[in-house]
Each structure stands twice: as structure tokens, then as C-alpha cells.
């Protein structure tokens, strides 16, 4: 017996929404899904007419759906946005090279210009060569730190007002849990914000913040969107994996738990006595950093000197080594 659509439109349902338990037909699902993202955009005041917006595009399901929905909403609701796809090529053979083909397909399908920036051109290293140097432990640290900065640099090149990323509700709930588990209170407070922006860093927003992963996959499936899904060839993050598996188990018993965890994260008030990292600019590269020298510069320095572990672990130690060098350099210049 087919189940009928909860909206009483007369059509048969094709899915059960995890967030609400509603059963919806294809058209009513598309409309509900898109309208919720539109509401996130309007309520969060993410854009202004005339804004240039870079979509962080990996070729995966989330960024593909984000690009498609943003293009659709931009036309439907006349946001007046100038959209760009921004992709980062980490230099991972058998993974990113394939997913970039998917992004190129998105560019053609949606008629949105694409900019690709590579780790190689930005840092002189590919992830493949970094892994050769450092091995398969800690390589995700390099990739994460470099990617975050690479997106900022790409956005600066494109001259955009804002970067949108495809973080979905599951990702955000997972990050709330991770930050609780790690005791990272500064990030716990920040991680649920729909907009994050520093003084002079480019604004980042997450329009899919309340969209469940299940619905994103279903949307991509029923819209026949082309996306790429393969796991990264390098080691996954085991700790995050546990948080993710835990969350999925919770969702199975109580589908609203994902949105509930986000709600908890949003409502948390951090005591004034908690020390927050101050935002400043890296003295070397000028990009946003919480330290005098940003993590990307420390990691890069380590790689270039053949001390790839320099930036892994305590930042004080790396600072000491790099300060020592600075003093040596100064002494040398006095000698001359």
C-alpha cells in the first residue's frame, strides 16, 4: 500500500522526513527542502543583493546540492547574487583529481564559473608529497589547516563577500559533540553559528546548517545531481568517526536528536571567565590566526626544513624553535 503525501496533495509519498516524520511526495519534498534553506538564508541574513558568493565545492553531495539549490533560490527569490565555485586541489591522486572532474561538470551544468586553487601553487607541496614526508599519521592536520586557508586565499583572489560551505545538520551536530568531548569551549560556542567572520577575514556561512544528510542524499538522488563519493585515500579521523557513528545510532532511535543537539549548542552560554583565543593576523602571511604565526606557516616551515612534526602538538614548542631561529638571525645580522 503506498503511503500518501502528508500535505494531502493526492500524490504518493517517496520519503519520510527524519526531522518531522512527515511523509512527502517528490514535489512537496523538493519545495520543503528548498524553502527551509531559503528560510535559513533569510533569517540568518546571509546575503545582500549584489553580493559575490563563493561556493566551497568539493564535488561531494553536500556542495553539489548547495550549488544547485543556491542557483535555484537565487533565481526564484531574486537574491541578486553573483555565484562562483571555488575548489581546492589538495593533490591527492585517485581522490581529488576525480572529484574535480565532478566540479567541472557542475560548472557546466549550472553555468557557474569555477576557480581551482592547488596546494602545490599555494604552498609548494601536494598532499601526496606531504604524506611521503610525514607518513599517514597526522596528515589530516596538514590538509585541514591548509584547506581552510586556501579557501580564504581563493575567496580573496575572486574578490567575493562571502564563502558558503556545504556543512549539513549532521556535520554540525557531530562538531558540537566533538567539541564537548574535547572540552574545546571556544569552538563549542562558535561551531553552531550560521555565519562566522573575523574582523577582516571573509565571512563564511552554512546555508545547509539545518538540512539532514539523509535529505541531502535524497534530494541529490531525485534531482539526478552528479556528485562524487569516494573516501579520501588517506587515513580517516578515527575520533570523529566514533562521534559520527554514535550520532547515527542516536538518529536511528530518535531522528530529531540531530536538530536537538544543534539547538543545545546554539543555546549554550559560555561563562565570561572562559579564556577565548583572540583573533589576529599572522605576522608572516597576514592571514587570520589565533597565534602570532599561523598554523599553516608553522606546518609549512616544518615541511620545508625537513622537520615535518614541527607544527603537530604543542604550539609553544614550535614557537620556541622558531623564536630561537629569529634570535640567531638577528645575532648574525649584528655580526655582519
Amino acid at each position: 500500500m503506498p503511503v500518501s503525501c502528508s500535505t494531502k496533495c493526492g500524490r504518493d509519498a517517496i520519503l519520510k522526513r527524519p526531522k518531522t516524520g512527515d511523509t512527502l511526495c517528490k514535489d512537496c519534498f523538493f519545495l520543503a527542502f528548498e524553502t527551509e534553506i531559503h528560510d535559513t538564508i533569510v533569517n540568518g541574513k546571509l546575503f545582500k543583493p549584489g553580493n559575490k558568493v563563493a561556493i566551497g565545492a568539493s564535488g561531494g553531495k553536500d556542495s553539489t546540492v548547495l550549488a544547485y539549490v543556491l542557483k535555484t533560490l537565487n533565481e526564484r527569490h531574486k537574491y541578486g547574487l553573483d555565484l562562483f565555485l571555488l575548489s581546492i586541489d589538495e593533490g591527492i591522486t585517485g581522490y581529488r583529481d576525480d572529484s574535480l572532474k565532478t566540479v567541472a561538470q557542475n560548472r557546466d551544468d549550472y553555468g557557474i564559473p569555477l576557480k581551482i586553487l592547488s596546494y602545490k601553487e599555494l604552498y609548494g607541496w601536494t598532499m601526496d608529497s606531504i604524506v611521503t614526508e610525514i607518513g599517514r599519521k597526522n596528515n589530516c592536520t596538514f590538509c585541514g589547516v591548509f584547506r581552510r586557508q586556501a579557501l580564504d586565499r581563493g575567496a580573496a583572489i575572486l574578490g567575493v563577500d562571502c564563502i558558503v560551505t556545504g556543512h549539513n545538520a549532521d556535520d554540525i551536530a557531530e562538531t558540537v559533540l566533538m567539541n564537548v568531548l574535547r572540552g574545546d569551549i571556544a569552538r563549542l560556542q562558535r561551531c553552531t553559528s550560521v555565519i562566522t567572520a573575523g574582523a577582516d577575514s571573509i565571512m563564511r556561512c552554512k546555508p545547509l546548517k539545518y538540512a539532514y544528510e539523509k535529505e541531502i542524499v535524497m534530494y541529490a538522488y531525485f534531482k539526478h545531481l552528479v556528485y562524487f563519493s569516494t573516501e579520501c585515500v588517506y587515513a580517516p579521523n578515527a575520533y570523529r568517526g566514533h562521534a559520527r557513528a554514535f550520532l547515527k545510532d542516536l538518529e536511528k532511535i530518535r531522528p530529531s536528536s540531530i536538530i536537538d543537539i544543534i539547538h543545545s549548542g546554539e543555546q549554550l552560554q559560555v561563562k565570561d571567565s572562559i579564556k577565548m583565543p583572540e583573533r589576529r593576523n599572522c605576522t608572516r602571511c597576514g592571514f587570520v590566526s589565533s597565534q602570532e604565526i599561523c598554523k599553516a606557516c608553522v606546518l609549512l616551515e616544518g615541511l620545508n626544513r625537513g622537520l615535518p612534526k614541527l607544527g603537530i602538538g604543542k604550539s609553544n614548542k614550535a614557537k620556541k624553535i622558531m623564536d630561537l631561529d629569529k634570535r640567531n638571525e638577528q645575532q648574525q645580522s649584528i655580526d655582519f
Binding site: P2, V3, D12, A13, I14, L15, K16, T23, G56, A57, S58, G59, G60, K61, D62, S63, I88, S99, C140, C143, G144, V145, R147, R148, L151, T165, G166, H167, D171, T175, M178, N179, R182, D184, R187, R190, C191, T196, R204, E213, K214, V217, M218, Y221, F228, S229, T230, E231, C232, P236, N237, Y239, R240, G241, R244, A245, K248, D249, E251, K252
Partner: protein
Amino acid sequence: MSSSVAGLSVTVEFGGGAELLFDKKKRHELNLPGDEWTLKRLLFWLRDNLLTERPELFMQGDTVRPGILILVNDADWELLSTSTKVGHVHRLTGELDSEVKAWGFSREDEIGSVSPQY
């Protein structure tokens, strides 16, 4: 009319990364012996007969791992129950009875979401 050689013909399609567990082959046309094919039984059969690697990424307990979506004739299987019988309707026409799709989403690390960097 009823033929004694009862069986079920079903098309199973894997996508969204789930095909990686099934020898990277997306579409499988199956002819299964016998009559009583529930979704649950089909899942176990797929795991024991078609799956080529990492069974723990396909099933957990007696159902699929959370994170894999099942569509039966293009509808979310959460609208059905796992004891729903597969392929009942068009048995007499000889056409493909049912289409079962398992849509996974392997963890493609989204841009910017790498762990501590929020």
C-alpha cells in the same frame, strides 16, 4: 497459470559510494529462488552473496548501517517495514518486479569540515 518455478527477479542498484563494497558494480539483475523474499532477507542475501569487502560498512545488526538509504521502487524504505515482501505486484506480467537501491554516502570529507578547524 502459476508456475511451479517460483522465484523473484529484482534489480538491485548501488550508488552514492555503496557500490564500492560490491566490487564497484552498480547494477545487478538478480533471479532469486523461492518466494518469501522480505527486505530483511534480501539484505542478508546481498551481504552474503554479492558483497566483496568490508561487510561492517553495509550492515549493522539485522539492518543496514545508519548512513545507507534504501529505496524500493524509488521510494524511501522507511515508509515500509523490513518485513515487506519484495516484488509482489507484477509477478504475472513477467516484467521486472522490483527495484531495490542502496544509496550510501561514504564520508567524503567536505571542504572546510576537517575536524578541528571549524
